[in-house]
Amino acid sequence: MTVARTTRTRNTPTATKPAKPAKKGTRTKKSAKNRTPAPTADTGRRRDLLEGMLRIRRFEERCVELYSATKIRGFVHLYIGEEAVAVGVNEALTAEDAVVSTYREHGHALARGITAEAVMAEMYGRTTGCSGGRGGSMHLFDASRRFYGGNAIVAGGLPLAAGLALADRMRGQNHVTCCFFGDGAFAEGEFHETANLAALWNLPLLLVCENNRYAMGTALERHQAQTDLALRAASYGMVAWSVDGMDVEAVEQASRRAVEGIRAGTGPHFLELRTYRFRAHSMYDPDRYRDKAEIESWKSRDPIGLLVDRMRENGDPVDREFARIERRITAEIDDAVEAAEQAPEEPVETLLRHVTSAPSEAVT
């Protein structure tokens, strides 16, 4: 992977096959003779990546249960299978950087450090939720973490992200704005308008396309004339890479390089992360449009499983760690559910709050 202006990826796997593991430049130099190498400096870092991904996975599995129990409602879009993207990208960002997300944003929010408690309370529509119960699953926000949602209009977050990046630049702050969106967003004019503007104005913008191959029920090749997304992004004159989105370390590494490039002033960067959602588009989707075999082949490259395998190869005490992390996360989510159950609902008298920043004059 070179930092050329327009690195191309025509030979990356396409269509229905899972992406091949990314080739790593830095961490593949271990001795071939050493079958069970001693734990390395990567051990702790990999454990953190694992924990980040497991938290998202288990949180969402609980959401499925709670949805079935009608505790949470509305549209709920699961991220299961895509965890390496949120966790890997977030590793490259600082607390000062900004994140703009979509309606499939539980993973982004949790990776960003919004607590399971605040997200769960939001799913419950409670006042303690990260959007005070006004947003629900699709509209998670946390200004203190520069997490700007939570946009349910496909591609709707892209212009917003450009504006955030512009403001940071104009104020002389060396921050990066990271915008997540799906492959479906590539068909919207707003993606193209934003890419053009960001490149034209050299904005510090990281465009992260989560290519999970489907826009609801419509497969990539049925919604894009040119399915090489990095090629198209590159056509706007920005650095564009395709990365194995199932390999959290590959995602992290590419994100770090992109963010470094952006901070160095080389303008917007585009990452296409080739990933897959293991579940249906939303809780309402019977998922009739995908092959079982296709889903299974992608599941064989589960980002959590891939990392665990690598940790084992590395000689990390991964099984013990895994159980420990699992226990911690279970407790965390149990507490979050418990807190959400107990949290107050906003009284109806405050219905008109937050319509404007001025104290609301009840316009009824």
């Binding site: 529509g125 349910a152 479906g184 919207e188 609902e345 906003e346 316009v363 009824t364």
Partner: protein, 330 residues
């Protein structure tokens, strides 16, 4: 097959699907396009099975490009086709507003009468399913503001089944708004029902003491309110506008002349709403018939909240309609 004399059990969703099927069968200029209308079967399941029956040319999945596919529907209509374009919800239609307002509604006028646009656009509207602010608003009143388009709001199984054919026969653009809470409504549908009359409102219940004016997803709530009022001996007439543009103002005036009181029920926000227009018409046309000020029951002036209790509080409910009617009658 049901015989011509018996009614058939169906749902609003199935009635819409049957209407689509009939129009696709009877006119090969007709095709359906929109996001996920094909493989997925329609975001709300309306077009389920039509892809298998008519193939991907005539039941056409589009990319997420509201402006592009609504615009291409306009072009196809200009070229002699009869496209039915589905937009998932009225919220997303705003991305295509330019095409609808600046092209579909104005080409005929701008071309000096040369370019008619026989296009049908269907979309969902309304709240009640905890989908929060970007999936729940009722903006059909905005479209009813635009000259050059016809705006329909089927509230019953009959209208769901029988509005599409006359809409396709209309030489100008027709927008059909389907309230999301109606898709699962089921009932008996008379198979003999004729094409819907797109020019007139329908009296869904006759009454003598007060006129309740509504449309779309608020019709069931308004009929329930009329039932409650009847218990108190208040006889309410319920008018379903059905066509939001052009408004059947004659039906309003006739009813108010009989009842002398009116309540307008509209799920949109009160400010600048269709309810404002209806109230103004009643004031203009029926001022001397009125025995009380016109009452309005609309949504609270707030982006629709996700939390169930708040959403319910924001929406017009049967009890609000009953209370407004009692105020008018007292």
């Amino acid at each position: 097959m049901t015989s011509a004399t018996t009614t058939a059990k169906t749902t609003y969703r199935e009635a819409l699907r049957e209407a689509l099927r009939e129009s696709l069968r009877s006119d090969d200029r007709v095709f359906l396009m929109g996001e996920d209308v094909g493989r997925y079967g329609g975001c709300f399941g309306v077009s389920l099975g039509l892809l298998e029956e008519f193939g991907p040319e005539r039941v056409r999945d589009t990319p997420l490009s509201e402006s592009a596919f609504v615009g291409s529907g306009i072009g196809a209509a200009l070229a002699g086709m009869r496209p039915i374009v589905e937009i998932m919800t009225v919220n997303f239609s705003l991305l295509a507003l330019d095409q609808i307002l600046n092209n579909a509604a104005t080409l005929l006028h701008m071309s000096g009468g040369q370019l008619a646009v026989p296009l049908v656009i269907r979309m969902t509207t309304g709240a009640g399913r905890q989908l929060a602010a970007q999936h729940s608003h009722s903006l059909e009143g905005w479209y009813a503001h635009i000259p050059g388009v016809r705006v329909l709001a089927p509230a019953t199984l009959e209208d769901a089944r029988h509005m599409l054919a006359p809409a396709l026969a209309d030489p100008d653009p027709v927008l059909i708004f389907e309230h999301g809470s109606l898709y699962n409504v089921s009932g008996e549908l008379d198979p003999r029902t004729a094409p819907a009359d797109l020019d007139h409102a329908a009296i869904r219940r006759t009454g003598t003491d007060i006129t309740l004016v509504t449309y779309g997803g608020s019709l069931p709530k308004t009929l329930a309110a009329a039932d409650e009022l009847a218990v108190d001996g208040i006889s309410a007439e319920v008018i379903d506008l059905r066509t939001l543009r052009p408004l059947d103002t004659g039906a309003l005036a006739d009813s108010v002349a009989r009842t002398h009181r009116a309540v307008v029920v509209d799920e949109a926000w009160r400010t600048g709403s269709l309810a404002a227009e209806v109230s103004a018409r009643i004031a203009e046309d029926s001022f001397y018939d009125l025995d009380a000020p016109v009452e309005r029951v609309c949504s609270a002036e707030v982006p629709m909240p996700y939390a169930r209790r708040l959403e319910e509080a924001a929406l017009p409910q049967t009890a609000d309609v009953v209370a407004a009617a009692r105020r008018a009658v007292d």
